[in-house]
């Protein structure tokens, strides 16, 4: 009941700061993902959606 409401819209951009590192992990609502150590650069990339956003790699596929 007092638990925080989290985003419920369809257009949610998310940046996780990876525990124990300096790395930020950006995830777009389209599934595209990018790592960065600069939040300014990362927001720019996220909000440029769909420009430069590759659909998420299917099952496994590293890179």
């Amino acid at each position: 009941m007092t638990s925080p409401s989290m985003p419920r819209g369809d257009t949610v951009y998310r940046i996780d700061w990876t525990l124990g590192t300096d790395v930020l992990d950006g995830v777009c609502h389209c599934g595209a993902r990018r790592r960065s150590e600069d939040p300014v650069e990362l927001w720019e990339w996220l909000l440029a959606h769909p420009a430069g956003h590759e659909p998420p790699a299917r099952a496994g596929g590293g890179g």
Binding site: S3, R8, G9, V40, W43
Partner: protein, 354 residues
């Protein structure tokens, strides 16, 4: 060019501030006068007599009308002039602007913008402040700094470790990574920081009675431009909510800020702390009120300093942002977008003089 976000609801006051006395407050550079009618409704009008600009807030309330303190122009609740001295004809243009008002969650919200765009259902909620299941303390501090500095401050709580060390800051706050989310459709920014095993600051140790280390969650929900919510959950280390969402082992504190620009360089800093424990306990209330006010004042002093620095810095000074700024950067961007949208005319036709 102003950075104000117009066509939005803002907290103008606590309901308890508005009574049968005329009350002046400037919001987004507009001088307003408030009062409560005999039936209890809050009225907001432009605080400037149409005759010779005398402040209506320095005038007299007579029933539900304001009688200007200079020459007696008399205005009704809607701002229409209903009496002028010495003549029967009331000039057609004799009216002061009235502002849409909604009283909700202990706040008086006022709409700054075009009347026909005011939608009360778009006002974000802070229900704890007016809920018998919570006990609240609250206040307002004048800030001699632009509202953007307060947004930056509240979106990045890592500053608690340094600016509020010994009060609400402990080392873990600055050292715990955060998750930031922007809900683009709803225009909300979320920042959450979950500390699994943290030192318990005095603020929470004394109010909850927890001894030893804690699990401390900070979940920010910012509804730009005005309302900022910090859902704070405190529990003995390792005590988590149940799978069904119930949380009997947790202490919940809802910290609410309303960030209302007064002028371009000053801000009304409303703060409130609602808790779901020690209900009605005056000692705990006094302690939390005094402590939170101390913390707010630490921010006020720091932000007033920053405002002075900004006022005297050379054009084009560049800041440096790091990971802790992820939430603040998101908030700035939404505010910028809202300022642009709020400045645009409602309909293209409105731009054409009739």
């Amino acid at each position: 060019m102003t950075a104000f976000v117009r066509n939005q609801w803002y907290v103008a006051a606590y309901g308890r501030e508005i009574g049968r006395e005329l009350f002046a407050r400037t919001i987004l550079g507009e001088s307003l006068v408030f009062y409560r009618t005999t039936s209890g409704r809050v009225v907001a009008l432009a605080d400037r007599c149409v005759h010779r600009r005398y402040p209506l807030s320095e005038s007299r309330l007579e029933g539900d009308t304001i009688v200007c303190g200079y020459h007696g122009f008399t205005y009704d609740q809607g701002g229409t002039c209903v009496f002028v001295p010495g003549q029967a004809r009331i000039p057609r243009t004799a009216r002061v602007a009235s502002y849409p008002v909604v009283e909700q969650d202990s706040f008086v919200w006022v709409w700054i913008g075009d009347h026909d765009r005011a939608d009360p259902s778009s006002i974000p909620r802070a229900p704890w402040l007016d809920d018998p299941a919570y006990t609240s303390v609250s206040g307002m501090e004048p800030l001699a700094a632009r509202y953007q500095l307060l947004v930056d401050n509240l979106m990045d709580l890592s500053h608690e470790t340094y600016l509020h060390g010994g009060y609400i800051g402990t080392p873990e706050v600055a050292n715990t990574p955060i998750t930031t989310e922007v809900d683009e459709d709803r225009g909300i920014v979320y920042v959450s920081r979950h500390m699994a095993d943290a030192e318990c600051p005095l603020f929470y140790a004394k109010s909850t009675g927890i001894e030893g280390r804690i699990t401390r969650w900070q979940d920010i929900e910012y509804h730009p431009p005005c309302l900022y919510l910090l859902h704070s959950r405190i529990a003995p280390v390792g005590v988590l909510p149940n799978a069904d969402g119930s949380d009997p082992g947790g202490f919940h504190v809802e910290v609410v800020y309303a960030i209302t620009p007064e002028t371009e360089n000053s801000t009304h800093d409303f703060w409130a702390v609602a808790r779901d424990f020690a209900l009605g306990d005056h000692e705990v209330s006094d302690f939390l009120a005094e402590n939170n006010r101390t913390v707010v004042m630490q921010d006020v002093v720091a932000l007033n300093l920053l405002e002075k620095v900004i006022a005297t810095e050379p054009e084009g000074y560049q800041e440096l942002s790091i990971n802790i700024d992820t939430g603040g950067l998101a908030a700035r961007r939404i505010l910028k977008r809202m300022a642009e949208a709020g400045a645009a005319p409602a309909r293209p036709s409105e731009a054409v003089p009739s």
